[in-house]
Amino acid sequence: MSAKFSLDDDSVVVIVGSGAGGGTLADELTKRGVNVVILEAGKHYTQNDFENDEWAMFHKISWLDKRISAGGWHHTDTYPNLPAWIVKGVGGSTMHFSGLALRFLPHDFRIKSTYGTVDGANVLDWPISYEELAPYYDIAERKMGVAGTKASGLPEMPPNNHYKVIAAGAKKVGYKDISRPVASNTRANDGRPACQQIGFCMQGCKIGAKWSTLYSEIPRAIETGHAELRPQSMVLRIEHDKSGKASGVLYADKDGRQHLQKARVVCVAGNSIESPRLLLNSASSLFPNGLANSSGQVGKNYMNHTTAAAIAIHKGPVYMYRGFDIAAVISDEAQLNPDRGFLGGYHLEGLALHLPFTAAFMKPGGWGREVTSALEQYDHMSCVWVCGEDMPQEENSITLHPTEKDQYGLPIPIVTKTDHTNDAAMRRHGLAAWRKVSEAVGATRVIDMPPYPASHNMGTNRMSANASDGVVNKWGQTHDIKNLFISDGSQFTSSSAANPTLTIVALAVRQAEHIANAMQRREL
């Protein structure tokens, strides 16, 4: 039922990327009868390609085109060419998505009003409120099948050993807000089966119990007859006409042949590194600093959450790898509480690592008995990921390398990140809290780990009420070019302490509604 559109068809909406943002947008637009062409840089994998094998899947689906880590963060040492851990393939990073679907808190949309001016940070309120987004959160939770939410009606994910160990410790130290809202079926739902507690949720769910646009939104969009998916199509630049309106996109197919697909509307959803990179690479005589960049904010304010990880070794076996990879999530510390000495908050998210990744990420660069004595207790481990709010800072950015080019001939991206002082205080607090939670159930050794390569990439085309403060308005529409939209996490004005996927989906649903209506009214 796939549609086929000609390159000259300028009535289509071109969507760049097929992950949480692009995939959702395709589904919601085609549902409303809008014709879309989805250009996805990566290959079209299916569940047959998924293996319960961390490294095999890492090498298969990760975005491994060269990038450079710069700035003051740990990654310049630990992961110099892998600043971010995201996916190149149909379904984008929803394949690697842990499934954790947390909502932003109301104050997350008003950080300037809440925190005031923050030294060294570029804080700004979103042009939308939590209340405006709330109905779309309901839709997103339903679409994604988030377990334990009212909107989805799905039962909670049953606690596994890893959940129980963390939840017991959390309760002992007085935490109350312990939950596990994960986008995985707890019973058959939406044509997909129930979770079988396989683990390997981040390696692509083998049975499709965990939501991914790969097998939810994308096939549904194609089924309508209004969508054409073109995998292995790397968009090189967005073209515009004399008036400055977007007119199409130039892309390279799998054989390197270039094509120009005309478009009525262009929506960019390539994740927070590729999306600003594309706008910057599309500079023209009319827009010498890149498209939609009159504010100078394209590629700025890169956020990837204040993160840390830690392992606890317990007195009995846990087998954290048995069952859904996300374990108990403690949200008490996500609330505002300036007494802790930092702004914002964080979640403590139980997140299982399998043995190969534990060996790689526990002490990158480490060796000797300090490492091996811990790994020999792998079966006794629990593992946490601290996910906290990251302050937007203008100098944290995506920029283009002046000389080095990738296989498409495009300048490779430089990802610059330096911690804000707030981050260091929060990270310390989070790791201390985890230690308490673990020791409350008798953990004998707790090992702090450096942050992983960033999977939560946000903020590089941010929303703003005023065109001078950001790149897009409250619909994700660029301030400068009315038929150019940003449809991924790069729209985020603040990072919140919540994993971004649910919010990306909610925003994409809302944006699709807006675009379809505006097209009908001939405003686009």
Binding site: N52, V165, A359, A360, W367, G368
Partner: protein
Amino acid sequence: MSNTTSRPPMRVVEKRITFSRRGFLKGGGMAALGVGALSTATLMLPASEALAANFKVLGASTGKTLLQLARDIFPHDRISDRYYLQALEPLEAQAGQDEKLKTLLTEGVAALDRLAKLRFKKAYTDLPKESDRLTLLYVIEHGAFFQKVKGHLVTGFYDNKAVWQLFGYEGSSWEKGGYINRGFDDIDWLDEA
């Protein structure tokens, strides 16, 4: 602990590898373990010497040092040398294709031995005390040779399915129906009160 109900005990993974000698020989176990055809003479040698004979590209002497080095980098006393050999085999194969890598490894080993002789008047592998060997490794740990071997071992050793059970890790589970009926929630030592 508070486990007074009649629920079955936790399904615990035995952290050891059991295989019968007969099955091992019949199933081509030697090849699977990366051990080439061994002559009777080699079988008479100590295990580490016999294994070192597998380093066709780098030579037995360099191989023997690499085996000791690998164990000193990631020491697991319950894990036998053959798994360290398996971890090093891809590196040796690479060295067969890559002259620069081969030089890095052979010269790295030679330099380590020179350091050992200077300090202790013995080759690295002849130092019986782990603490003496570690003293030398702290000197070279930031160098390209050590970094290369260690970086390779992170996946070469721990991504080897043959060792997973020794850590209580069960690997791929989807083909067994996941853990929904195999102990995903069977923890029995937690005092949940």
